[in-house]
Amino acid sequence: MWPSLFPEEASTIAPRVDALYFFLVAVSCFFVVLIAGMLLLFAIKYRRRHEHDVGASIHGGMVLEVTWTLIPLGIALIMFVWGAKVYFDEYTPPPGNSVIVYGLAKQWMWKFPPMDGQREINELHVPVNQRVKLIMTSQDVIHSFFVPDFRVKMDVLPGRYRTMWFEATRTGTFHLFCAEYCGTGHSRMVGQIVVMSPSDYQAWVAGGVSHNTLASAGQTLFTNLACASCHSAASGSRGPVLNGIYEQRVKLQGGQSVIADDAYLRESIMNPAAKVAEGYQPIMPTYQGLVDDEQLLELIEYIKTLKPAAASAPSVTTSEPEGQGTSQPITEHGKSSSAVSSPSAAPTAQR
């Protein structure tokens, strides 16, 4: 009975959430027992014995008032700081290698387009003990990615990329729920996360039949849409050269700048006029309606694979030291993995 009344602790963050939870349960039990006990005690001890009895003339006490204001306040502040710490770590992807997974939510399914390997619907295979970074968007309404056994949840919004991460610590199959009401099939928008040992995971990836990776599909699309007619060195600088642009700082018209993360690339394709790179005219047409969310992911993934050219475009400054923008496929995992730096990931997740 007991194990079935509590979710498994299957991620690195789960024990930390549970520790805080148990602290709050303990505090709550204390106060419930205290208050209920006092109520009962007083109610019985001072019950009315004669019809016309009245209570004692007590009007209040400053010491008591201050005590029961300050003590709860102190306890509340402990809860606040502790909770904030857990939240901060949970919503800020740490630096270092992670397996990157794209998630597409739509009424009423979860799609995980393949970086390489297998296309998955309502099922996501991940390796155990390795950080997984999820970049998610929705094709229609708001959904929410919720894995109770990992204690993670994040709303998935249309028109935005949101990034979350988790690291599974146990192999097995875990529920994936949509937690934000999204219409008729909301309670059917469930799936599972399959956490596999590294060797099993490897075998699973190798078993994949598809060789059409996200990036290669993106390349085809890039050619078909004739993006290179502007975005190439040969085009006479009508549009910025995209090689090596990913995760770099781009100067904008008007002096501001922006990191060319997933969200910026998406916006530049859908609403080109929103943030125009310095030195270029807002001549690019919108591709809204021409490419869907999945194709967008393909295009962005392709852009990420473009190696920096010898001479970078004038508007792109290489402010960040690490060799970003090159996702190095890890052969033993099959999934592409890149050195992701947290400062650029955070604004993606929390705009």
Partner: protein, 538 residues
Amino acid sequence: MSTAVLPRENYLNTDYGLRSWFLTTDHKRICILYLLTITLFFAIGGAFATVMRLDLATPAADLVSDETYNKMFTMHGIIMVFFFLVPSIPATLGNFLIPMMVGAKDVAFPKLNLASWYIFTAGGCFTLWALISGGVDSGWTFYTPFSTLSSNTNVTLAALGIFIAGFSSILTGLNFMVTIHRMRAPGLTWFRMPLFLWSMYAASLIFVLGTPVIAITLLLVAAERVLHLGIFDPARGGDPVLFQHLFWFYSHPAVYIMVVPGMGVVSEIVAAFSRKRIFGYTFVAFSSLAIAILGFLVWGHHLFVAGISVYSALVFSLLSYFVAIPSAIKVFNWTATLYKGSISFATPMLYAFGFIWMFTIGGLTGLFLAALGIDIHVTDTYFVIAHFHYIMVGGAIMAYLGGLHYWWPKMTGRLYPEGWGKLGFITVFLGFNLTFFPQFILGYMGMPRRYHAYPPEFQTLNVLSSAGASILAIGYLIPLVYLLWSLKYGPIAGPNPWGAKGLEWTTSSPPPKHNFETTPIVTEPAYNYSELEETAVV
């Protein structure tokens, strides 16, 4: 009890015709009109809840279709929140008692008061029309872009219904504020006012400041659906999360509209049945105002996983903890009031105990939701459902029923049967806890809210919860039956059956049309029980 006859002339028997009810400007009759209307809405909302709980007794979605289930929880939420809980205590007990407690003949704007009821009923009819002509499936929260772009149900109608009913809230709040400011009897200073008035004043502040924001927000949703404006449409640059900010700017304070009047009722009951002044009167009074004001600064805690920045989440979390403090102060003060009191276990007092129990659990679990790290896990799960039902149903309805029992003799001139009253309380109390306590555990296990079908491991607790719901349903029927019975057969109450203090108990039951024979003059603080018999005993 001394005189076993009803007063010869009272507000109930001055006129009998339908016109005298539907065109009345008497706040006491308007209270009765509201009482009937919201009881009807409560029955409709409760029926939806009952069917949902029946459906959820099995993991498979086998009783109704997905569409029907979604419409049911939407209508349950809309009706219960906007047409029962928000008006419950203010529009009934508030209407009846505020003029009596301030010693006035009526509220400041009696015609506006009647108009408020008509507006409320019109809004209710709109919403019922939306229900009958196909239903709404957007959830009572109307989250965009689902409500604006995806749902093909009667969202516009329902939103307009709430928009209309909102004006009733605004005008009621306005009326109460002006009444409390300007109509107090000679000698009734602010700090001699009963705590119910303080809490109604705080609730009125929220009515006046919050309701217009939900009104414009729902108007925008309706306009977007009809005119395709794109304000919340991400494809055209609109921001669906902006809707959530605007929505919760009202809807979080709305929770305090439901519970702060309940706190006022509980303060009255605890004082009357302990025959003792409320411990720390000024702290309890100001904590109502503090809740009303701080309540406007915490809406962001509904958006911790929705896409706000980490830093604004920190601020909203901290402020949410601050709003917990005045609530804690109230609970401690009520408990301390019992110390050396003369405590009676009459039905209203049992409901007050019930309220304190429910509110303590509901409030403490609110701390879990304000803790950012836990909120990620439990938001949008049954944990939240359990939490807000403990506050809004456990808390607000307990107080509403307690208040109804406490002032029933004043409103009708007759007493209800005490034994049945206690039985009703015990049934409601047990049924409620059995229904909603398992949902905390379900929520932490990860069962998402608004799920029609669920994995089998959640079934045991869902069956418990459904069993509790059936007990709860019976529990709500018991008072309905004996209160109606008492209208004709209940013993005559007399002006002050409880031996309570307060201006409303100085006039006959039911009160005359103009409440008091002569304008009362107040010379003592509220709850001055120690002056009844003995002189200050410390």
